[in-house]
């Protein structure tokens, strides 16, 4: 696990408590590592879930974020959990090194009109093959009065309808990504800033990650991806993506250089907000503290890092 997991703090006095918590966590990490040698690394994944949270409780209570004395706020816990998993130590070939941010997105479903501008911007930005038959973002047209995905549809006429509501779905950059856990060769991992990436030069094409992902966010290049020469984005790989799995990277090529994601930029109604949860003043942090939100399939426990407000 990473050493750059920093809990969320609003008040400076939390720091003293935090020092104690960190040392306790280090100790637990040691226990975890020892168990890992014995059990081929399977046990630490469970052990951290069972043991690590109580160890940090003190620090979070001091941050004053929970109503229950001694309990950690959910948002602080998720932000803390959102760190590197199976990270090989250096960033994936097409990305700059991660900073100390924890990236998240908030989507306003009340504002979304289903125009699919985000989808088109994403296809262009990320060199998605025009012949590939998939997009990173799926906008789902939902029936009024229900959240049931089975009654929604992805194939609705251009423009959308005022009788329906729209739910944009893409890779949630989960804090506990079942795709990363399911990759047999560690060809996909979570970087320290929480972005889930795929190493196109390592992926064996077994497609197990597509089976384990609950959000239909991963896509296999069944054919060699074709992009017109004039439209190729030189910052994003293209040829390497043939016969491997690809997915949304929160536009790692833009966001790690101070930019925002292509979909956020393209949204005509400003329904998407993208930012850093480690920064208490970022748009996403403020939204998550002040608005009523929900997450898609939260009950599965993947801890998705995209929230919806409505």
């Amino acid at each position: 696990m990473s050493s750059d997991k920093e809990p969320l703090h609003d008040e400076p006095q939390a720091l003293d408590e935090d020092a104690g918590a960190v040392s306790r966590r280090r100790f637990l990490k040691g226990v975890g590592a020892a168990a890992g040698i014995l059990a081929a690394g399977v046990i630490p994944a469970f052990a951290s879930e069972l043991v690590a949270s109580p160890a940090t409780k003190g620090a979070e209570a001091a941050a004053g974020e929970s109503l229950v004395p001694g309990a950690q706020s959910s948002l602080a816990r998720i932000t803390e959990e959102d760190g590197s998993i199976n990270y090989p130590g250096k960033p994936v070939s097409y990305a700059d090194p991660a900073g100390d941010q924890k990236w998240a997105m908030v989507i306003d479903v009340k504002a979304c009109v289903g125009c699919r501008k985000c989808v088109y911007a994403c296809v262009k930005e990320n060199n998605i093959g025009r012949n590939s038959g998939f997009t990173y973002i799926n906008v789902m047209e939902m029936e009024p009065g229900t959240m049931e995905l089975e009654s929604g549809t992805l194939e609705y006429p251009e423009g959308g309808s005022s009788e329906k509501w729209y739910l944009p779905i893409q890779c949630m950059q989960c804090a506990k990504p079942s795709c990363v856990y399911g990759c047999p060769v560690k060809a996909t991992w979570k970087e320290p800033d929480g972005i889930v990436v795929v190493d196109y030069n390592k992926c064996i094409g077994c497609r197990n990650c597509m089976v384990t992902c609950p959000y239909f966010a991963r896509h296999f290049n069944w054919v060699e991806p074709y992009v017109p020469k004039a439209e190729i984005n030189p910052k994003v790989p293209l040829e390497e993506k043939a016969s491997v799995v690809e997915k949304c990277t929160f536009c790692v090529q833009r966001t790690r250089n101070g930019g925002t994601t292509a979909c956020t930029e393209a949204c005509p109604v400003g329904a998407r907000k993208f930012g850093d949860l480690n920064d208490p003043n970022s748009e996403v942090s403020v939204l998550l503290k002040t608005r009523r939100v929900f997450r898609l399939k939260e009950e599965l426990g993947n801890e998705p890092m995209i929230w919806y407000v409505g």
């Binding site: 089975e150 399911g182 064996i204 094409g205 197990n208 016969s243 426990g301």
Partner: protein, 410 residues
Amino acid sequence: MKRFIGIEWDFGALKEASPRYWLWMSLLGVFLVLGGVAWTQLFLHGGNVINMRDNYPWGLWFVDYMYYIGLAAGGLVVYASVHLFGAKQFTALSRIAVLQAGVLTMLALLGIITDMERPWRMVWFMLTPNPTAPFLYTGSAAGGYMVLCFIDLWVLITGKGGEKLAMTMTLIALPFAIYMHTTTAFVLSMNKSRELWHSAVMVPIFLTSATASGVALLLIFAYIVQATTHIKFEPSMFRSLSTLLATVMIIDLFLLVVEILSIFWPTSSMPGHTVRMAEFFTGHYAWAFLPVFVLGFSAFFLLSRRPTRHLPAVQLTAAGMYVVAVFFKRYSLMAMGFSRNTLGQLTGLYFPSAVEVFLALGILSFGLILITLALKVLPMETSEHAHDEGDEAGHAATTPDAVVAEGSAL
């Protein structure tokens, strides 16, 4: 006769083989070549020639993987019962059973390899294995099991180490086979993203389907061997085998029924599960799922009717029906994960393309060629000196009824 690694290879028998033998071999050869052509097409054109897509990330090769891994179990159950439970009437079958298990596991692995468009990247399985991925365990278990089966076969043929080594091998192989089937079921059940797969009963149902179809195939295989070679089996062995088959079959069907009940029962039904399962009764996949029940229960009925169940024709029909039923079941099982994608969208019917079908047939004929060759060239019959080591002499005198009782005690 050529002696190599302690085995008498009877290559002379191939020269004396009948035209019928060579006709069969050349038919298999044709399918092997067609399979090779299909694989080349897959390399050249990728997704253009197959029907797998994002909605069906795994297709026919995965159906075959589950199916072959399952069939491989039967061989081991019989082989293990010879040594561990003292069911001596199966002794004559042990070599054939182990050969069947080894070859079928090889076919399962070939399915994975031919599905990968970059098989050489498999090296990462060794270099950076991910312990949380179920795929890793089933792959390595299948590889290990295949090697174990071929070592087992060698031990049985050469008689090296005698009964004691054969017993030790069984003690290793039986838990290994259960491990392989369990981890294969894990590839499905360890997915919270796929509602109909995410069930703990997947593991026991995998084991029972595997054992039932494997024993059924072994029964068919034994009849074929008896009809085409000079190897002969006791009628009591067939009776015990079909009793065992009927027992496992009904457990298998029972598990399937309780699984379906828990999906539709008013106090446990959840929309995500019921809409998906409905596809298999009234939707796109009814043709693949309903035969599982029809064939399964009919086969059980055939094997349980006292006046006719000893007839070879009845046993063969029932066994054949169950082998087919389990293939349909595997096909449905694949589709249960994918008939609606993880966003709840109907994905339509997946049916393999010609390239996928010929690739699968090529792999199958490769296995059949290996078995056909082995039956001629290798001493598959339990030979005289093997009898000297055990106490078979005593058991041969046991009355058929006692043997049947012994078989049903399993």
